[in-house]
């Protein structure tokens, strides 16, 4: 940490106490409860529970339905991450390149950042409404009979579309500030060394942006996994049916809506493990992350 630090027997604990208290009560306690419940089969009303060992886990992992949701989650996460990163980067690079109107573009492009996922979902839902959705009309014009809510593919498309839409500004902001933090002279050196802008981008600028891109990759994966809950909840209109959903939504469906505490707890724990692995990877990379200054 710092070269010089205070040393005091009590103060650091005092400063940490509020945060730790909140975390222990509202994070660790519930998390431990979740792990505990995952080994029990519980009556919805909490009248009794039976220890079932790993049954809940087996039930989940052997269910083809769960596996197909897992598969969709993976695809959804990969697609949302890829497109929101790519588009965010594209816009950031362009905004970085223009001088005139730079501020206006910036403002327009980040304005959507603050929109809540359910609001995004609501707007998306209207855009993809089977009867009045303008996007559906455009698609029909192109010969695509879009049936969001009925066709698995179309619904997935709409969800991904909205999730990407919502996330672009975030990536845009980070990429833009990442770009602007790059030493101007390195970019100029590249301008002298390489005529093709595209080649320059891939050989010099992008590698230098790698730390930002990596950071964003993690953020976007987390976003796609968890924060899209609101988007999905709104877009499936309360009826998952054969619409695609993600693992978190499934936890919610089974636990909250279906009152299957044990099963959903097991799913929570599985998610915890997935996120844990992701985080370990993240820390590993961050440790190894190149400091380009």
């Amino acid at each position: 940490m710092k070269r010089v630090q205070f040393s005091s027997p009590l103060l650091p604990y005092l400063f940490l106490a509020p945060q730790l208290a909140v975390i222990v009560i509202f994070f660790y306690w519930p998390s431990v409860r979740a792990i505990q419940s995952s080994f029990y089969l519980e009556d919805p009303f909490g009248f009794g529970s039976t220890f079932v060992g790993f049954d809940n886990y087996l039930g989940v992992l052997l269910s083809p339905e769960y596996l197909s949701i897992a598969r969709f989650t993976a695809i959804f996460t990969a697609t949302v991450t890829f497109f929101s990163l790519a588009l965010g980067l594209l816009l950031a690079v362009k905004a970085d390149a223009v001088i005139r109107g730079n501020a206006a573009y910036k403002t327009l492009l980040i304005s959507v950042y603050a929109i809540a996922p359910p609001v995004a979902g609501l707007i998306g839902m209207m855009f993809f409404d089977q009867h009045i959705g303008p996007f559906v009309k455009i698609a029909a014009f192109l010969g695509w009979d879009m049936k969001v809510g009925l066709s698995y593919f179309d619904t997935a498309f709409a969800m991904i579309f909205v999730a990407v839409w919502k996330q672009i500004p975030y990536n845009f902001i980070f990429f833009l500030s990442g770009l602007q933090a790059l030493p101007a002279s390195v970019r100029e050196a590249a301008a002298i060394d390489c005529r093709s802008g595209i080649k320059r981008f891939w050989t010099v600028i992008f590698p230098l942006l790698a730390p930002t891109a990596f950071f964003l990759l993690i953020i976007n994966v987390t976003y796609a996994l968890f924060d899209t809950f609101g988007v999905i909840d709104v877009m499936v209109k309360d009826k998952a049916a054969n619409n695609p959903i993600t693992l978190v939504y499934k936890v919610y469906m089974d636990g909250f809506r279906g009152n299957d505490i044990g099963g959903s707890s097991a799913q929570s724990v599985i998610l915890m493990i997935v996120v844990f692995v992701l985080t370990v990877l993240q820390f590993r990379f961050i440790e190894r992350r190149i400091h380009y200054t």
Binding site: P183, S185, V186, E188, A189, A190, A191, I192, D193, C194, R195, S196, K199, T203, V204, P207, L208, A210, I290, H291, Y292
Partner: protein
């Protein structure tokens, strides 16, 4: 290799105050030109216009016999060394050196040969596979130089390439750059705000002030005949003493001192008088001024540099610094003399050099000429 012609070049940022105004410089093939001036005087802007990194507001830049105003930087056939080196942090030294060549579709074996040659010249062999962050400042600087050399461009452009180095390294890298440029003979435009660097490196130096050229000339010419008080105070260390004087006939009054110039000068009345610290001598106390005027100096403080001592004091109410050899005796109040021939006169208002001035603009062959014979 090529000539560079900078013709009435100006740069105006955002329709505002001009950063560079109507600059004209003709750089001969193989010449080493140093742009020098205080911070913000437009040195980098000018250099970057030549490089193509900055648009030219008006005027033309010609490299060889091509007008390059609208040519992409990569197509100008120049190489540039940046102050912070601008090495590609994610590439090894070898890749850094080869990058520009690869983009130019130079054949592989040739790239390898040129990289090897540059590495040999700059003694970078052992570091070729390291990334820049594993190099010391001096080594990075050498890689930056190497990156310019491998390209074998028509011209080198340097923007304060040494200012991130510590004093000792700066001195030795200065020598290296000079030797290297002599060896490859590439036309060079070099920016620095360090007058010592400018003096030692330049074939000709260009002193910039507020976006305009204050003086162009060979280093010693500039040193010995600065065109203005600005140049006089900028070139040379310690800076030339500049004091207010009064000319009456053939007499020059500086505060309490009255100096006989021997002959009348065209200008009369108030002038700015300049003389260099090392041209002043301590007069024997009570002795008469030898071949120059004598001024009483109240010593304020002394800086011992080992090889010499700088005596800071006041003549009347004007600060004057005298450089004495380290074995000269000092007293609290001492007369100093100045050879008449070493006095410079400047217009009190405009600061421009007045025609009557130190008789001997330069006395010996300048360094570059000498060097030709020395090798």
């Amino acid at each position: 290799m090529a000539t560079i012609e900078i013709d009435k070049v100006s740069k105006i940022y955002h329709g505002n105050v001009p950063a560079v105004s109507e600059v004209d410089i003709r750089i001969a093939d193989g010449e080493f030109i140093v742009l020098v001036g205080p911070s913000g005087c437009g040195k980098s802007t000018l250099l970057r216009m030549v490089a193509g990194l900055e648009t030219i507001s008006s005027g033309t830049v010609r490299i060889g016999d091509r007008i390059v105003n609208d040519v992409e930087p990569a197509d100008r056939d120049i190489a540039m060394v940046f102050q912070n080196y601008a090495l590609y942090p994610h590439m090894t030294v070898r890749e850094n050196l080869a990058y520009g060549l690869k983009n130019r579709r130079t054949p592989k074996p040739e790239i390898e040969a040129r990289v090897a040659e540059a590495a040999r010249m700059l003694e970078l062999g052992p570091y070729l596979d390291r990334k820049p962050r594993a190099l010391s400042g001096g080594q990075r600087q050498r890689v930056a130089m190497g990156r310019a050399i491998v390209r074998q461009p028509s011209a080198f452009l340097f923007d304060e390439p040494l200012s991130n180095l510590d004093a000792k390294l700066r001195v030795s890298m200065r020598g290296e750059i000079k030797r290297l440029q002599r060896r490859v003979g590439t036309t060079s435009l070099y920016v620095t705000h360090d007058q010592l660097e400018a003096m030692t490196l330049a074939d000709r130096l260009v002193v910039l002030n507020g976006g305009r050229i204050e003086q162009i000339g060979r280093p010693l010419d500039v040193y010995h005949a600065p065109a203005s008080t600005f140049v006089a105070s900028f070139i040379g260390s310690p800076a030339m003493n500049l004091v207010q004087g009064e000319l009456h006939g053939s007499k020059l009054a500086i505060g309490p001192a009255l100096i006989d110039l021997g002959k009348a000068v065209p200008t009369q009345g108030a002038v700015t008088v300049g003389f260099r610290a090392e041209d002043l001598q301590a007069a024997a106390p009570g002795g008469t001024a030898a071949e120059g005027g004598s001024m009483p100096l109240r010593v304020d403080y002394v800086e011992e540099l080992g090889s010499q001592r700088l005596v800071h004091g006041m003549v009347g109410d004007q600060a004057v610094t005298v450089a004495l050899s380290s074995d000269a005796t000092l007293r609290g109040e001492m007369p100093v003399t100045i050879p008449i021939g070493r006095l410079h006169f400047f217009d009190a208002e405009s600061g421009r050099r007045l025609p009557w001035s130190s008789a001997e603009p330069h006395r010996t062959a300048t360094a570059p000429d000498l060097l030709e014979t020395a090798r």
